[in-house]
Symmetry: C2
């Protein structure tokens, strides 16, 4: 059996009982290491599983999938993925290959940021498409995410924004020289994310020509848009911060702390209970812009719960 | 500590190791019983936890939340929810109350249908708002879900549709007489869901006046729209069926089998790998309408993977 097993969000104990049983009986255990990370290292997982773990790099998964699947028609093999395992097509691709080889497979699901973001108090029903924000470089600032965000904002639904992760990056020099030396992993901090968002927002705004166009198309005015940063969700040091884009963009990297992070841009269909719950994390507490903008721009009245 | 613990999708072993540890040390363990169900009964959970379980009905959670929270500032109390616990505002409400009483809380996340639907091969990123479809009655056929579906279809994103669950329903007679006698639980079968969808689709279509309006607004033509039924996701008898709305609506209740079920309406941004993976479950296999409609209406070319 080829098991694809979600590990959840935080540490070795977020695996399900069923997932752990599968790992325990597997001959080989792979850990997918390039789309997300757990908050614990490989050694801690190995100690908990009482098994060695093989790190599955992107190269291994994409180029040597057959090596991973090998013998899984005869013995049990586990492929571990942080979060819920079927979010990214990389792993559906692995399952398609197994299927074409008539290898039996079982997926063992787990928590994902896409539902754990319920911790914000925002309802999962009210989210639109999920976006990913990549690291901007001097010459490469792709802004296609902005069009999807606008689609969500026009409908009034909330948007989850996943922040870029870079693992096993090569410097240009090492790549040019064919040296397999990798840079330390990088995880985008919300401070950088907000700065990129404001950059693209202002670029797009500058393309608008008339007052009417701005009125109609300017969907993300920083002082009038509510957002929430989500840091280390599902871990003991989980931290949420809510406020206007402007307030959030003025915070330092340290205020968000260690990875992993993601963001939510709040849609106009925000309702009172969502507003109240997410307001628990407001910059400036009861005096924060969260409450003023929620009332004046989003039109939500506070209620007592 | 007041723990809110997700149980995942299928049976007693879908709880996480962390969740199980919290249950084991709790003085009282509640099981929320009205927004979803596990595939195993209370007795099996009690045997696995070696603890009695208190069933938390909607009345208990909404009217006697303080009873549930009682003493959780001094001892550990667990509140178990099928899936990931923070999808519905009922439970965020409980956390807000705990917060106002200064009770420490911890949420232990788990798998939800909202990410497990990755089993279809469709990418989670490409989903829009999630809808719920309630049981239509003779006099009550609410169709507001259709407007949200159209919003998603216009963007070309996929739509998850959750199907109604009725637990602890009273018959009109019993309700009138104040008798606390409850009907057996009901879970909507995809057969009924597709029939309701086609009903509303045809009602809405009949409101359109001109050929142009039909061209522009008729977003859900049954023979040209792809959909997928998801039954018992995450359980050993998991079953997916993909096809056109028309094909799917011609299947019998039995072909979908036991609950729980949900549906996906496929959006036009469908890409080749999604198309291929979900096509594994196509009615009629390689000769099904899935492939024809995917190519002609959705414009996806098949690739070899």
């Amino acid at each position: 059996m080829f098991y694809v097993i979600g590990l959840g969000l935080s540490d070795e104990k977020d695996i399900t009982v069923k997932g752990l049983e599968a790992v325990k009986k597997s001959e080989r255990v792979y850990l997918e290491s390039y789309t997300s990370i757990l908050m614990v290292d490989k050694e801690k997982l190995e100690a908990f599983y009482e098994k060695p773990i093989i790190i599955a790099t992107r190269e291994l998964v994409e180029l040597e999938a057959d090596e991973i699947l090998k013998d899984s028609d005869k013995v049990d093999i586990s492929f571990l993925v942080v979060g819920d395992p079927l979010g990214a097509t990389t792993h559906t691709d692995l399952l398609l290959r197994a299927h074409s080889k008539k290898i039996p497979t079982q997926t063992i699901h787990n928590a994902s940021i896409m539902t754990a973001l319920g911790s914000t108090g925002l309802q999962l029903y009210n989210f639109g498409q999920t976006l990913s924000l990549v690291f901007y470089t001097e010459n490469w600032k792709p802004s296609s995410w902005f069009d999807k965000l606008k689609e969500n904002l026009k409908l009034g639904v909330h948007t989850l924004i996943l922040l870029d992760i870079k693992v096993r990056e090569q410097s240009e020099e090492n790549m040019a020289r064919g040296r397999l030396i990798y840079e330390p992993p990088r995880f985008m901090n919300p401070q950088q994310a907000f700065s990129q968002i404001l950059y693209t927002e202002s670029e797009r705004r500058s393309e608008l020509n008339s007052e009417e166009e701005i009125e109609k198309e300017d969907l993300l005015p920083p002082s009038k848009t509510l957002a929430i940063s989500l840091s280390r969700i599902g871990t003991p040091s989980q931290n949420l911060i809510s406020g206007t884009l402007e307030e959030l963009s003025n915070l330092s990297k340290e205020e968000f702390g260690d990875p992993l992070h993601s963001l939510v841009i709040v849609g106009k269909r925000l309702h009172a209970l969502e507003f109240e719950f997410a307001g628990k994390f407001a910059i400036g507490g009861e005096n924060g812009d969260w409450w003023k903008v929620g009332k004046e721009v989003y039109g939500v009245e506070r209620e007592t719960f």
